[in-house]
Amino acid sequence: MSQPGIVIVGAGHGGGTVAALLRQYGVEGPITLIGEEPAAPYQRPPLSKAWLKGDADLDGVQLKPLHFYAEHGIDLRTGVRVEAIDAAAKTVRLSDGEALTYASLILATGALARPLPIPGAELAGVLALRTLADAEALKAALAPGVRLAVIGGGYVGLEAAASARALGAEVVVIERERRLLARVACATLSAFFQSTHERHGVHFELSSGVTALEGDGRVQGVRLDDGRVVACDVALVGVGAIPNDEVAKAAGLDCSDGIRVDLDARTSDPSIYAIGDCTRRPMPLYDREHRLESVPNALEQAKACAAHIAGRPQPPPEVPWFWSDQYDLKLQIAGLPFDVEQVVVRGAPEDATFAVFHLDAQNRVQAVEAVNAAPEFMAGRQLIAKRKPVAPEALRDMSLSMKSIAAG
């Protein structure tokens, strides 16, 4: 038997990337990459956009071509689950019965679509959107005239709504909160995205809880908490994600809404790392821990983890960021709106080119949300990293370039 190597659990964006980076950084020895889905690592962001619209194929979304893994000595095993970790014996037990011994273990188990615990959730035509298989099922269900009910006005739901409209489906978005994107964006952005979607023919039911999915074997309607029923042919549930940390918890790793890791992506067990959506990590710019669900976060942690294993210096901390494409809008968000005292809007939402800056009590930029406003996003990222105060009136002044504001 060969000596124990690196075992990566989870072949998503984080797992696939850390495997490739380990080889890029010159790490030798066995690497096993275990994925529950049948597909090799692929990019999830296009699933709600290009994939639904038929503008992307498997080749296009795969992180690396299939031959890459064998060529780089990465033993890719798909369609296999990790059932348990024995941290004392340094082994993982797989769903096919095999036990693998590791020298280092990397958990990249991601997040799971949050289930909706209501009657009818198991009906045919009730879909989630997390995996390629989910996206295929939704794509197959969408056609001109098909009525789609989206439960949850978050990014996944809104991106799917935009794609569904492009395919000619009728769309109603049902949201429990009073506004869209309530957990993840400011009120200005919520209002802007709502009016944009309405202009594209999407209907909204805000402040509406969902009590049941109704239908005879197949979903036919979504019952709201005021008793009304939104008729539909297919329902997409996009009510957030939960960290996939059950196996880590059972192994005794320190978890608290995610596997707790340090800046090197190390867990409470010195032989076990964790990266991506399944982790709760320190946020050096914000002086707290946080769990992020984003590709850039998974990539940053993949780099930190691979660097630590390879004995390379750690890259400097990155400003967290995120993007979303809906219709012809590019939303780019940098930073996190913690400790915000003041919100400054630069530009005009009615022009569909604007940015919202979030400042703390010392007028330091904590976060920026930019719609079709790349300079504001890029300069905002630099300002967040610098932690220097900025005059709110300068941010409002369109005659000052973002370049000069960032340099000031």
């Binding site: 490739a20 080889r23 890029q24 990019q43 962001p45 296009p46 795969q62 992180l63 690396k64 071509p65 890459f68 780089h72 590709v295 850039p296 990539l299 890259p315 400097p316 990155e318 960021w321 993007w323 494409d325 590019k330 780019q332 790349a374 300079p375 890029m378 300069a379 990222r381 630099q382 973002m402 370049k403 960032a406």
Partner: protein, 106 residues
């Protein structure tokens, strides 16, 4: 196929055959060439696939869109021949293309 030479900041060269239809960024990432991060996967959202197009090729790689220009404007070490490699589509006409990478994408 188009032969593309990717040159890392330290001079290491990677010569690859890239399928037309892919972008110059995808050619690098799918072959694990270091130095092009492409965090956003080609959405023109992050400016981490910055390259310098060899001067002999700048006429053939097209021009940057307004979005790409504004992203590049804030990247480190921008030169007149800077491009985001996710925005350059590979065609047979780019057979022989040479791109160089900046010291860092972050």
């Amino acid at each position: 196929m188009a032969k593309i030479t990717y040159i890392e900041h330290d001079g290491a060269e990677h010569v690859l055959d890239v399928k037309p239809g892919l972008t110059v960024m995808e050619g690098a990432v799918k072959n694990n060439v270091p130095g092009i991060d492409a965090d956003c996967g080609g959405a023109c959202a992050c400016a981490t696939c910055h390259v310098y197009v060899d001067d002999a090729w700048t006429g053939k790689t097209g021009t940057a869109s307004a979005m790409e220009e504004s992203m590049l404007d804030f990247a480190e070490g921008v030169e007149p021949n800077s491009r985001l490699s996710c925005q350059i589509k590979v065609t047979e006409a780019l057979d022989g293309l040479i791109v160089r990478m900046p010291e860092s994408q972050h």
